[in-house]
């Protein structure tokens, strides 16, 4: 078949194409199913789940579970809902993302445009810190946070996430600035601009895309973190993920599946929103964080 519309380099027959479409659609059902179940069952009364079909659409539509998950469900010992923990996460994420992005931008600028002997080794050290199993730092971190009086507090978590976020944010900016023409920096030097003037006037105005990528990546990672939250802020200072886990795992009383699902969606909502609004940048971040060091 040589139809003009088919300009792709690989030609496929009709049967193969049908198979491919069926496969891709089935795959998309697989990826959508868990979210569909969470969503459908978060607006059902509990009796419809325990007594009925998980895949079925709700017979009685209710927002009760959402309200409960947000403001009244038993999380740990208090019936506070997830609301306070949601704000904990926000208070943790915003400063941590901001600080690690600023540091990453400066580091990337220095490591590409103000190179010095040994800079690649320093970058290698920072980069490797992205991939360590965090179990290796849990014990001393707990001690240090205790000594600094930051145990169980949001500030402690901000510190932790900044420290372990520097590697990735530096990686992003370094790779981005590596492609940024060094001649521009030289021209600015001849024009008399100094280190910070070049950064502010020349580099930053051209850094929009990588800032978005970095902010999204750090936001997603820090919001979704569980290990640090569980280790260093398990009480009332816990972030959303830890609170959700407490809600779901709590052994007291009846399992309110619908509330669990509503809570899970609440915990997923911020990152999911970011993904929907700026998915392009999210993918770029993923790729930059993996394919090229």
């Amino acid at each position: 078949m040589m139809s003009a519309a088919q300009s792709q380099s690989v030609r496929t027959g009709r049967i193969t194409r049908t198979f491919i479409y069926v496969f891709l659609l089935v795959a998309s059902l697989f990826y959508l199913l868990p979210f569909f179940i969470m969503l459908v069952n978060s607006v059902k009364p509990l009796s419809e789940i325990t007594g009925g079909n998980m895949m079925a659409l709700p017979q009685v539509f209710t927002l009760e579970p959402w309200a409960a998950a947000w403001s009244s469900a038993q999380v740990g010992v208090e019936p506070t809902g997830l609301r306070p923990y949601f704000w904990n996460s926000i208070k943790m994420v915003v400063p941590a993302v901001f600080i690690s992005t600023v540091l990453g931008a400066l580091n990337g600028y220095i490591l590409t445009k103000w190179r010095f002997r040994g800079d690649t080794i320093l970058f290698g050290l920072m980069l490797f810190s992205c991939f360590i199993p965090f179990q290796i730092v849990l014990i001393p971190m707990a001690r240090i946070l205790g000594i600094l009086g930051l145990s169980g507090s949001t500030y402690g978590l901000i510190l932790v996430h900044v420290v372990y976020g520097i590697g990735f944010s530096t990686l992003y900016f370094r790779n981005y600035y590596a492609a940024f023409p060094t001649e521009l920096v030289r021209a600015a030097q001849i024009d008399g601009a100094g280190f910070f003037q070049i950064f502010r006037r020349i580099m930053l105005p051209s850094s929009g895309p990588i800032i978005v990528v970095c902010v999204i990546w750090q936001f997603t990672n820090i919001w979704n973190d569980f290990l640090f939250g569980a280790s260093f802020a398990s009480g009332s200072g816990a972030p959303m993920t830890v609170a959700l886990n407490n809600l779901v795992q709590s052994s007291t009383g009846v399992k309110e599946y619908n509330v669990h699902f509503a809570g899970a969606i609440l915990a997923a909502l911020p990152t999911l929103l970011v993904y929907i609004v700026a998915g392009r940048f999210f993918v770029r971040g993923l790729m930059a964080g993996s394919v090229k060091g």
Binding site: E183, A187, Q189
Partner: protein
């Protein structure tokens, strides 16, 4: 001592010396071109003048002041980069005045300087645009405007035309030359294009492998190249280099070459001192335009000799016809007038202008002074 003084300057990266004892004195108002193939050290030298790279040893002085260790912005230089290096986020006007702003020049003065330069370069209508909206030639002008507005002691150009297409490059070359003649500024200009070097410069420094091979006026460089590298690098098509033996005949030194037919051609040298090389091998260098059809030969030359040789290839180029023949064991290109009827495989009577011929010592590759 000159206006720009490059005094025994070397550059090393670790243990590797990439620039060896460069010594150039540039007078005020001169147009010095550093030319050479990539990796010859010409851009490194320019960056050292600009202060963008450290000087390993030696001194660079600008306008009577040693500038080793002086920040680039305090050397009173301006630079035009290969990529133009226009700040993408600023308008043309902001690009031009950024340097003045950084030096604390008040806004009214900046604007006046900007308008003067814009007028000079005829880019007034572009002042509010961003670099991304400009054509290559316009960017080139803006980059020059940014350099001019500073009114520096020395202008540095780093291959400024290499990103332009062929036609625009010729136009801009003329513009730069006009500008230099009008402003009489001191310019150091780096290029790998020997035609730019010849047309623009008042003096040329030909560089290769970190050494200045020859420093001289375009005419000196072209007519009396210091060595084989300079001879073959400058000029297009390149100078023909042939294996020849010096023989004495009628008391005069001649170059003896093997012709295309295996016979011997004897070409008399204009340089008498070639007799010192009697019975020795030399490399004979003759530029294509010195091997012509008899009617195209230089009438003023006193040493034009006839030579029969077989044509291998003809390449009509419109204004001239280039003909390849075999002489002295090498393919030799000659430059004939366009309408001379020639075809491959024929014998042809060439006229060789031996006044323009040079000879090189095959061992040192240096030109034998005549």
């Amino acid at each position: 001592m000159g206006f720009l003084d490059i005094n025994n300057v070397t550059k090393s990266y670790g243990a590797v010396e990439v620039l060896h004892k460069v010594d150039i004195a540039v007078e005020e108002g001169e147009f010095l071109v550093l030319v050479g193939p990539s990796g010859c050290g010409k851009s490194t030298l320019l960056n050292m003048i600009a202060g963008l790279e450290d000087i390993t040893s030696g001194e660079i002085g600008i306008n009577g002041r040693v500038v080793n260790g002086v920040h680039p912005s305090n050397r009173n230089i301006a630079m035009v980069f290969q990529s133009y290096a226009l700040y993408p986020n600023m308008t043309v006007g902001q690009n031009i005045t950024f340097g003045l702003e950084m030096h604390g020049v008040p806004k009214p003065e900046r604007d006046k300087a900007m308008n003067d330069v814009a007028k000079l370069l005829q880019i007034e209508q572009l002042l509010d645009r961003k670099p991304g909206q400009l054509s290559g030639g316009q960017r080139q002008r803006v980059a020059m405007g940014r350099a001019l507005v500073r009114d520096p002691d020395v202008f540095l150009f780093d291959e400024p035309l290499s990103n332009l297409d062929a036609k625009l490059r010729v136009d801009m070359r003329t513009e730069i030359k006009k500008l230099h003649e009008k402003l009489k500024t001191t310019i150091v200009y780096v290029t790998h294009d020997q035609i730019e070097a010849m047309t623009l410069s008042t003096r040329i420094a030909v560089m290769y492998e970190g050494y200045v091979q020859q420093l001289g006026t375009p005419k000196e460089i072209y007519d009396t190249p210091a060595n084989l590298f300079v001879a073959t690098f400058m000029g297009s098509p390149a100078m023909n280099i042939m294996n020849a033996k010096v023989v004495m005949k009628d008391g005069r030194p001649h170059a003896s070459l093997v012709t295309s037919e295996g016979g011997e051609a004897l070409l008399p040298f204009s340089q008498d001192n070639m007799s010192e090389w009697d019975d020795k091998e030399v490399l004979l260098g003759i530029r294509p335009e010195a091997i012509t059809d008899p009617d195209g030969a230089d009438r003023k030359s006193s040493n034009v000799v006839a030579l029969e040789n077989r044509i291998i290839v003809t390449e009509p180029a419109g204004s001239d016809t280039f003909v390849t023949t075999n002489l002295g064991g090498k393919d030799v290109i000659s430059r004939l007038r366009a309408d001379v009827p020639v075809s491959a495989g024929e014998m042809f009577g060439f006229a060789v202008n031996m006044e323009k011929a040079v000879a090189f010592d095959p061992a040192t590759e240096k030109r034998i002074e005549g």
